[in-house]
Amino acid sequence: MKHASLNPIQLPIREFAKKNICDGHLYLATKEGRKFYLMKPGLFVDPAFIKKHAPHNTIFEFTPVVNEEVKERFNVLFKELLYLKFERDLRVKTFEIVSFFQKAYTGKEHILSFASVCFENFNKIPEEALLKMHNTDMHLFRKSLYSAAFAVIIAMSNDYYHPLMLRDFFNVTFAQDMGLCESEYSYYVAQACNIENRMPGSGKAWMVKEGATPSEVNVFLEHPRKSYDFLKQAPDILAFNELAEIALYQHELADGRGFPRGVHKGLISSWESIVILADSLVEIEDQHHFENEVISYILNFQNEKLKDLPVGKVYKKLCLNLQYFVNAKEGGA
């Protein structure tokens, strides 16, 4: 693996305990020199894990993937954004963030630099809910984190500048799969989500074909509603409560074949499209760890998939904005 070639550092447990999100590859070395791979980048740092290792003062081997300078820069930009009030200032600041995003992610930079900053600044989902998701499926958690970060940058590119609104986009996107975190969550459900992501509109059919139980199918089909209920019942998560409704749209399709409502694209607003696009950009079992060339990944996103999704306008705007900076750079800017 690529990350294994990097020089690991000795990381005492107390240092690791300070992290919310694992921002690198975590190993445990035995006396004999054998290494156990404990944690991937983007996973939640479970308090139980810390509790387990703290009494032993475990010292891990840690290969960070996050560029601290980039992270710090994003952090400063986000802090500045939160400080601003006027629309024009907010717009200029988001312009700056998108510009820096483009600059940072044209090269080899892990999306986690941005995602962890988004998490630190925007996350309002209670820890137990995060743990529940993490315990249900660590990959689902990681996927949700990355999707939420993408939602922020897509929203910024689509003329949403208000920090509270951006925060809501992050939290809605993060929590929109909370409805999956049930006891019936299984391989079939996880796989259906993957299939749905890769080929929109085919998840349910795959489940039926593969012999998933009705309750499993139900978990899959009802999870948008359950996520919506989750967001509605936790009023502190969203600043604009009405945005909870966005969770209902994550599997809607352009032609109205999606679920749960079967709404066609003519009725889907930009704020819903943003979340749908952000969700589509990341797959649960994606081997692509967004370690580099994120911009290239976005700009070359699968067109076949986009055809079925009601996200054309927001995707176009995202690309236009990113491309604008690319062009500006190429043009000597």
């Binding site: 629309e87 609104m165 066609h264 607003s269 904005n321």
Partner: protein
């Protein structure tokens, strides 16, 4: 076509439908029943209405709400609230059917489809911009961009602005009622001359009342009640569609450039779409992003054109440079075309033309227009001369006065005297003169209480001197050469202009060719242009700020005679104009000197006026006195004449006879009788008396003459005195005028200079960089605000520092204090550095200790394992095992433990020392309040470091405690092991004893 569409049944209460509308219904298979022509009944889905203003009746009659029958009005609805409450859903003027949107609106309404994109709702809209609203009170720049776009597209941009502002505030109100949610997505675009703005947003539990309550058509103090109504009224077509499937509302405003769509043709649609039908896919052109597209917003102020003010106000509000244009506009607009035609026709009349050429014009009232006073005097002299001749004839002939004959002869005599140049004037005057002279004579005789035939030569003289001038004045009017020039110029310009404009060789043909309103408009425009040019070339009005009284009179008379308008009307126009100029809306600030000069000028003017009035009074008195004198002299002379005629004629005749009688007697040397002597005596006495009387009369006459001369000289003196005063005042006035003029010129120059600068600045502002400048300014303002805030903070800090310094000021001077604090700080810093190093050493040691403890643990475990093994071996073998190794190991462990304990004790002691030192340093630091910002910052930094170190110390202590616990645990384990070992030893000894016993 959907099922729903097929079952549509419309009750038509409007009578005959427009062909396009009827065609639309027929084309779409929608059944429309007119109750007057068909008795067919159906389950109505819609009712078409026209000119209905109380929809309550329809609601009750047809139960529109209960049966979901939608009302459609094909005409303007006065009370939209009433319409909506009665289930009114569409206001749609048939005129819309002639435009591109009409059929689409009806499709959308009857087929019930809609989307949240502008292109979904209205076909092929090209998106010009989009933005999202999160804070309804922070939309200024977006709105500016949108309105700018509307201006660019040439639609009613201000209506767009009003629509958006009011709608947004209405939505904000709904948001407060938790009926709608943010964000609000706004899209705007254009399509075939139509500008559209669309907003959509989440909604929940939105009731009809929420909408209808804000549709009040009455403008009241509470804006919330009519917000939506103003928004509706601001759009040419207003569409409010609720999408129940997704709980969203889409509001669209449309503005068309089609001039046929006026206020009364505006449309409205309230649609409640329960389930969205399949939406036709319309391509949406263009995509915008404010992040990408950030155009500088151009100043569009020039596009805001306020409606024309009422006519009376118009002239008053025009700037000085437009004076002639304004007058021309005002006058030409006040004339109707028929009058203009008469003017033009009059212009080409041969006689009139001749008059114009010769410089004489007869006014409407029959007055002969004269060029100047001199001209008037000349004519007056001619008339007087003619009267003189007739008077002489009359005197010579001794005939009684025949007024008819006299008047005719005067008039004809006048014609004979006329020179060539005066022909037209005198011709005009001569036609009226006989009648006037005749009437004048009768009036004069009436005044003298005599029959006209009895008028004497003296009377005729008086008539000639006093009445004739009055008569001439009554029949003439004096205007200057400028007047004539203006009239001539205007007529020439008009004449030439008309010929050139209509490409005809005569004005007759021009008039004949005027047939259409466009031609009339051309003539009127030409009249306006000609008048403006004439005013400019003759009076240079464009270059003036005011006109003189004389110019005003000339203008009034000229324009009045040219346009056959009442002088007062023309004067009103001109005077209004001048007043408006004299009282500008924005007056410049006057200096004290100017004010003083103006005050003096006013006083001088006042004095001048008083003097003029006084002079006039004196002149009048002189005139009266002269008249009185002459009349008295005349009466006296007359009386004398009469007395002489009556008395002296008899006496003179008698005395003459006596004188002759006595002369004869003296010649014959005859003796005088007594009687003769008495007679002679009386004759001599009479003569002496006469001589005396004559002397006395002569003295009296001399006296009167002297008195008169005295009075005259006195009057002359007074007159001269007043004149001198007047001249002095005039001189003063002129000087003040000159000074004021100079100051005014100077000020004007300054004003012009300022104006130029202002223009430059305005141009510069209007130019491109203005936005960036404003941005920079805004940034600078923000920076300034931030700096001000920082300044406030520092002020507070400084004040607190000052307080602290004040409290410490007893001990030493501030400089020493600062120096001392700095030194202490340095010391503290060094101490901290040392402490840090010690801490890091200590941490290293702790980690080493931890490693040792771990190894000890491992060894303990090993020992335990060995012990267990030993015990098991001992129990199995029952043999005595004296484990020398174990004892050695035990000793080793004990020693190691002892070392560890010592190390721990050392560490604890060091830690305590460090804590104490840190505590002291913290105390010192708190005590030493710095006096300047640098020291304060350093102290803050040091405090931060101390806190961090303290935290680290606490952590270290916690770790130490944990180590202590481990150590205690190990001790316990060690004791347990020792006990176990002792026990094992004992057991081994026992076993050995038993063994030896058995062996024994």
């Amino acid at each position: 076509m959907t099922d729903k569409q097929r079952t549509l049944a419309i009750l038509n209460l409007t009578g005959e439908l427009a062909p396009e509308l009827g065609e639309y219904f027929a084309k779409n298979g929608i059944k429309v029943i007119d109750p007057l022509t068909s008795s067919e009944k159906a389950d109505w889905t819609h009712i078409l209405t026209k000119d209905i203003h109380d929809f309550g009746l329809l609601r009750k009659t047809y139960k529109t709400l209960e049966k979901d029958i939608k009302l459609i009005s094909l005409t303007k609805v006065n009370d939209i609230q009433n319409f909506i409450v009665s289930h009114g859903k569409l206001i749609f003027d048939e005129l819309w059917m002639s435009g591109p949107l009409g059929p689409f609106i009806l499709d959308k309404f009857f087929q019930e489809y809609a989307g949240i994109n502008l292109g979904d709702n209205y076909p092929t809209f090209k998106e010009r911009g989009a933005f999202n609203i999160t804070n309804p009170f922070n939309t200024g720049e977006y709105l500016d961009q949108m309105v700018h776009q509307a201006f660019t597209d040439g639609v009613a941009a201000l209506s767009v602005k009003t629509f958006f502002d009011h709608l947004l505030m209405f939505l904000t109100g709904l948001k407060n009622k938790k009926k709608i949610g943010l964000p609000i997505e706004v899209t705007y675009g254009t399509f075939d001359g139509i500008f559209g703005v669309q907003l959509h947003f989440f909604t929940q539990d939105l009731m009809l009342e929420d909408v209808s309550s804000c549709l009040s058509s009455t403008i009241c103090k509470k804006a919330e009640e009519h917000l939506l109504n103003i928004s509706v009224q601001s759009a040419d077509f207003f569409d409010f569609t609720f999408l129940s499937q997704v709980n969203k509302v889409v509001v669209t405003g449309l503005w068309t450039k089609d001039e046929k769509i006026k206020i009364e043709n505006r449309g409205l649609m309230f649609a409640n779409l329960s389930s969205a039908a399949t939406l036709p896919s319309y391509p949406t052109e263009g995509i915008t992003s404010s992040l990408l597209v950030r155009p500088e917003i151009e100043d569009m102020s020039g596009k805001i054109i306020l409606p024309d003010a009422p006519q009376d106000e118009e002239v008053k509000r025009i700037s000085g440079k437009k004076m002639s244009e304004a007058l021309a506009q005002k006058i030409s607009s006040s004339l109707d075309f028929e009058k203009v035609k008469q003017i033009i026709k009059g212009n080409i009349d041969e006689d009139t033309f001749a008059q114009v050429v010769s410089g004489s014009v007869e006014t409407e009232e029959g007055k002969v227009i004269l060029g100047s006073d001199e001209e008037m005097k000349e004519i007056l002299n001619l008339v007087k001369g003619s009267v003189e001749e007739q008077k002489d004839i009359y005197r010579i002939s001794g005939q009684k006065l025949d007024p008819d004959n006299f008047a005719i002869k005067v008039s004809s005599g006048l014609m004979d005297k006329a020179k060539d140049d005066d022909v037209m004037k005198l011709k005009a005057l001569g036609q009226k003169l006989p009648e006037s002279i005749k009437t004048g004579l009768f009036d004069f005789a009436k005044k003298l209480n005599k029959p006209v035939e009895d008028l004497s030569l003296t009377d005729i003289n008086a008539f000639q001197n006093f009445e004739i001038p009055k008569l001439i004045k009554a029949h003439t009017t004096i205007i200057g050469s400028q007047h004539k020039a203006l009239i001539n110029d205007l007529r020439i310009k008009l004449d030439n202009g008309l010929k050139a404009e209509f490409m005809e060789d005569s004005v007759d043909k021009v008039i004949a060719s005027i047939k259409t309103p466009e031609d009339e408009a051309r003539v009127m425009e030409l009249l306006k242009t000609s008048l403006k040019n004439s005013l400019d070339s003759n009076f240079h009005l464009s270059e003036k700020d005011s006109i003189t009284q004389e110019e005003e009179n000339i203008l009034v008379k000229s324009l009045s005679s040219s346009f056959k308008e009442d002088e007062d009307t023309i004067r009103q126009i001109i005077v209004d104009k001048i007043e408006a100029k004299a009282n500008p809306l924005f007056t410049k600030e006057e200096s004290e000197a100017e004010k003083e000069l103006r005050r003096q000028l006013a006083i001088v003017n006042h004095d001048n006026a008083n003097l003029v009035a006084k002079l006039r009074t004196l002149m009048a008195e002189v005139k009266v006195l002269k008249d009185t004198k002459s009349s008295v002299a005349e009466v006296q002379a007359k009386a004398q004449e009469e007395a002489d005629a009556q008395v002296s004629s008899v006496i003179v005749d008698n005395d003459e006879e006596l004188r002759q009688h006595f002369q004869e007697k003296l010649a014959q040397q005859e003796a005088l009788s007594e009687k003769d002597q008495e007679t002679l005596k009386s004759l001599l006495e009479r003569e002496a008396k006469l001589i005396n009387e004559a002397k006395q009369e002569e003295i009296k006459a001399k006296k009167v003459h002297i008195e008169s001369a005295k009075k005259e000289s006195m009057f002359v003196q007074e007159y001269e005195k007043v004149n001198r005063q007047l001249r002095a005042k005039d001189l003063m006035f002129n000087k003040i005028k000159e000074t004021v003029q100079k100051i005014t010129d100077k000020k004007d120059f300054e004003i012009n200079d300022l104006k130029q600068k202002l223009d430059q600045v305005t141009r510069a502002l209007a130019a491109g960089p203005s936005q960036s400048q404003s941005n920079i300014m805004r940034d600078l303002e923000k920076q300034n605000q931030n700096l001000s805030k920082m300044l406030e903070v520092y002020k507070v800090k400084v004040s607190s520092l000052a307080t602290n310094i004040q409290s410490k000021a007893d001990d030493s001077t501030s400089k020493d204090e600062v120096r001392r604090i700095q030194m202490m700080n340095n010391q503290l810093k060094n101490q901290f550095e040392a402490a840090k190093k010690e801490l890091s050493k200590f941490q290293t040691k702790i980690s080493t200790d931890a490693a040792q403890i771990n190894s000890l643990r491992a060894e303990n475990l090993k020992l335990e394992f060995e012990l267990r093994r030993a015990s098991s071996e001992a129990s199995q073998k029952g043999a005595t095992v004296e484990s020398g190794d174990t004892q050695e190991t035990l000793k080793k462990i004990t020693a190691q433990n002892q070392i560890l304990e010592n190390q721990l004790k050392d560490a604890v002691t060091k830690l305590k020392d460090m804590e104490l030192r840190f505590g002291d340093s913290q105390k010192n630091q708190r005590v030493q309040n710095s006096t300047d910002n640098t020291v304060n910052t350093k102290i803050n930094q040091l405090e931060g470091s101390v806190k961090k170190l303290t935290q680290d110390l606490i952590e270290s202590r916690n770790q130490l405690n944990e180590l202590k616990k481990d150590s205690n645990k190990l001790r316990q384990e060690k004791t347990a092991l020792q006990n176990q070992l002792d026990r094992m030893k004992k057991e081994a000894q026992k076993a050995a004893t038993k063994k030896t016993g058995k062996a024994a």
